[in-house]
Symmetry: C2
Subunit: 249 residues, 2 copies
């Protein structure tokens, strides 16, 4: 009735409006199926609608509806090719949001896989995998920690690349893009290791280089990757790794 009351409700409306935009974004990931889609897409590649449907165990029509929701919400980008609908995460920000949620979500019990293939699949993922555009798993944290030990990374005042780190990347043929808005170095909590691995433009560049130089290859169509003999050799020489677990076949 009075100005006071009217003003109070106007303020509340404003508060709720802000809340609604955040809630809308969170709502995109507040469904088990949509979250499963995004976790799968965290491998950084494009999937077809059917692949995602089978992956998450839902009908194709259900997948269609969810993909519409996710793309309209701006979390996914899509590309149509013939009768296929390819979708991928819209960009690094979207991937970071999914990572963030996954890292904070309570650790699940994982009641010990019962089949042999499930066991090997899981151990391959824990050993080495991609996390959107950078490396994760034992491989990811090993590289990260080896870089820190060799003085290529500074975690105390950073995270940041040291001058030695810039040289080390240069020797691989990787140069830093100047004035990028995205942080060069960003910590990303590893699911399986529970220690941070390297993300940001540098993490992405190292991952890209590892693929291009044949250090790693994908295992089938999963997020898991396999370290090649060339990769072992390169890690051992470039990071002074000796008798490290990641070097075992």
């Amino acid at each position: 009735m009075t100005e006071n009351v009217r003003e109070r409700t106007a303020a509340a409306d404003e508060v709720r409006a802000e809340g609604r935009t955040v809630a809308a974004l969170a709502g995109l990931l507040a469904d088990a199926t949509r979250a499963a889609f995004c976790l799968a897409l965290l491998d950084g590649r494009a999937w077809t609608a059917n692949e995602l449907a089978r992956h998450a165990g839902v009908a194709a029509s259900t997948a269609t509806a969810h993909l519409n929701t996710l793309t309209e919400g701006g979390l996914l980008a899509e590309e149509r090719q013939g009768r296929h609908r390819y979708v991928r995460l819209a960009g690094p920000e979207a991937a970071e949001l999914v990572e963030h949620l996954a890292a904070l979500a309570p650790r699940q019990h994982t009641p010990a896989p019962r089949t042999l293939s499930a066991t090997t699949r899981r151990s391959a993922m824990a050993r080495a995998r991609t996390c959107y555009d950078h490396l994760a798993g034992l491989l990811g944290v090993t590289i990260t920690e080896a870089m820190a030990e060799r003085g290529l990374l500074d975690w105390e005042r950073g995270p940041a690349l040291t001058p030695a780190g810039v040289d080390w990347l240069g020797a691989l043929g990787i140069t830093l893009p100047p004035g990028s808005k995205r942080p060069a170095v960003r910590p990303c909590l590893d699911f399986t290791e529970r220690r941070p691995h390297l993300a940001g433009t540098v993490g992405a560049a190292i991952c890209r280089h590892a693929f291009e130089a044949g250090w790693i290859v994908r295992i089938g169509t999963t997020r898991a990757v396999s370290l090649t003999p060339e990769g072992r050799q390169a890690l051992a020489s470039r990071l002074d790794l000796r008798h490290h677990a990641i070097l075992a076949p």
Copy 2:
């Protein structure tokens, strides 16, 4: 029927289980009221249930239910004092998640405030406010960019504190905690300025120091803060700011 099919559905169950944990976390923020609560709590302080209820414009009983949900989900920590229920964000990780969502949520139209008090409230927030445990608004980005210009921060290879930055903090009586898991320096996208301001342990330390040294004081019970004459003086001398907008009364 066959082992193949059984294995495939087992894998889908596993996928859905992972999806469900992420969805549960996202679901906490997928409601306009709960999101509004968390955005309010982003000021880093503890609010009572009633304050939040009035802030978001819902009944007290509704607020109770939401606070139960949020605390059980691990996003909020609560403290009971007599007949009051104080809640705050559970920690830096929770605050970062809320920040992340808020930064990525589509910019809202904000149809020009109609009342005088709404206008002044908004401009005070845009000028200087806290963002969980660090400074935001024009003040936050001004400090951040001035530090970068003076060579105290390195955005190219970092973000990271330079040796000069360590000295500068030392002159304020701030020392870096060694071997912290939390990054010393982290960029946090500013709502109003759309440029990053400084977060991480260093951002928090600077904010704490600004309060303790009387550089800033809170405006009422909002997130907004006001720069004191001592604060103006300190910024001008310590960061070489001359005729900068933030120094105007």
